[in-house]
Point group: C2
Chain length 306, copies 2
């Protein structure tokens, strides 16, 4: 196998109660990438469509992720990387993670699968480090493994894939304003009150339980965030109104996707999700703000070979 | 039914990764109580053995818990309460919770079960408020419901009963020094670093997952606490040595039970637990510190009628 074309999915990280530890993989939102072996002993970004991104290997998240992987393998094998972006940079649905994860997935396949999917996560995290200054795993893990992922710990890195209740749907609204992950992280305080932390870990525990028991009501009640959302939501136009509209129209829960500005509404069933989607769309159209809008299942497979 | 004799179990709260939200019910450690209707329209503590505790209804945790229940029912029915303590006050294995939970459980039975077990929790929490100034639920919930309980949220109060992997055993060592919950709480800082909080909720999520998947290894790796344990453990003689000994002898995890000074070792299987128990016993005997030592299954039933 000399080349591979893949779908690299968007992801929703944090999911309100799981800052830096939870993420979910989307099904019909993502990039395409084409990776091809070359005989030049070089990692080259040969084509980028859909976005303006750096072609220099060391400045491109896919480039650094692949480099980390190949260095670990101790090989000089070269690769050409084509990136066809559909996920906008700075959208908050794992644009950099899709590129990093997609690239290491494809290279691993083309090298005869020396690594398991879980073993690929640290390489993809190097892309995240480049993108945001922080090698977080809550986007790259669900992009690679699919479904819901929990970062049990960073040191040592341990990732769990959690079960996925089948009727879940996610509506993602991306207001077309850019929020850099770096800037959004800068808003967050380094200390939190113990009381709010207790509240957060109670909700996270309940969320994990709800995934196992397929208790959609509990799942919705667990999607709370008293720590990050109050700070980050100020960067998102009409966040509180959107939340109210989503919940009023039947969403189980609503919050910021990753570091924003995208927001997500978790819904039970396709019909309910469509209703929530329409209501959010109508509201933002009235406000005259440009946006992208997606409705997706949870993608339990992760990256797909095309 | 005019009277009821019950077993009111000891409980291990916090379980390292779940400060204020997690607790487990023990099987063979607990008090006995006898509750009997009287015709005096009064709640009386008529007998206490094993400990010196207040006989005034309003100063006794069982008294205030029963009072809260009967007030809610709007009845003048009187009760005589006998408390035969085996769990030492200030031990950190839910002594006050056993009395509060046991009392409301028995009164509810004798009144024809107007409340579900979950509905009894807030009444029992009034006993905790009296005992420690804080109406926490992580002891009374597992005492009433059995097994592992998660306090999903305090406002509104929502408690989940989690599954219990069958081979779990708990070794509890109680150094015979008294630590008041109030004093132990006073050590805790009101703010925690976000980084440590993230680490804590990653572990709690993994712990909940491990209960569902019966993954004993993961369960052990999740029993971590970087927030409370470093502060509270200074009150417990030779805490770090005990921990090292327990882990070296095969314990899955080790930490402080509740607010201490009791410590717990979570083990897989009876044999492993016996080995851990012996090693801890030997070490504390050498140090010349008095202690109580228990080895218990997780009690999935909670309070038992005798």
């Amino acid at each position: 196998m000399e080349e591979l074309r893949i779908f690299a999915p968007a992801t929703v990280a944090n999911l309100s109660c799981g800052f830096d530890v939870l993420g979910a993989c989307l099904d019909n939102v993502g990039d395409q990438m084409l990776l091809r072996k070359n005989d030049l002993n070089q990692i080259r970004i040969t084509k980028i469509t859909g976005q303006e991104l750096p072609f220099e290997t060391d400045k491109n998240v896919a480039g650094v992720a692949v480099k980390a992987l190949l260095e670990k393998l101790g090989t000089n094998q070269g690769f050409d990387i084509e990136i066809h972006k559909k996920i906008k940079a700075g959208s908050g649905i794992g644009s950099s993670a899709a590129s990093s994860a997609g690239a290491v997935f494809a290279v691993n396949k083309l090298m005869g699968q020396p690594f398991t999917l879980k073993e690929l996560i640290p390489f993809a995290m190097e892309g995240e480090r480049l993108a945001s200054g922080n090698a977080h795993a809550d986007n790259v893990a669900p992009a690679l493994l699919g479904g819901f992922c929990l970062v049990k710990s960073y040191q040592p890195l341990e990732i769990l894939k959690l079960p996925c209740p089948p009727e879940l749907r996610v509506v993602v609204l991306h207001p077309l304003i850019e929020v850099k992950t770096k800037d959004s992280r800068a808003l967050i305080k380094l200390n939190v009150s113990l009381q709010k932390a207790v509240s957060q870990w109670g909700n996270l525990g309940a969320f994990v339980s709800a995934l196992y028991t397929e208790d959609y009501g509990l799942l919705g009640r667990s999607l709370k965030d008293e720590i990050i959302e109050p700070v980050r939501s100020i960067l998102i136009p009409f966040f509180d109104d959107l939340k109210e509209i989503a919940i009023k129209n039947g969403a189980l829960g609503f919050g910021i996707s990753g570091s924003g500005p995208s927001v997500y509404a978790m819904c039970k069933g396709q019909k309910s999700a469509e209703k929530v989607k329409e209501a959010m769309q109508l509201f933002y159209q009235e406000k005259g703000i440009d946006f992208d809008l997606h409705l997706s299942k949870i993608n339990t497979d992760g990256i797909k070979i095309l």
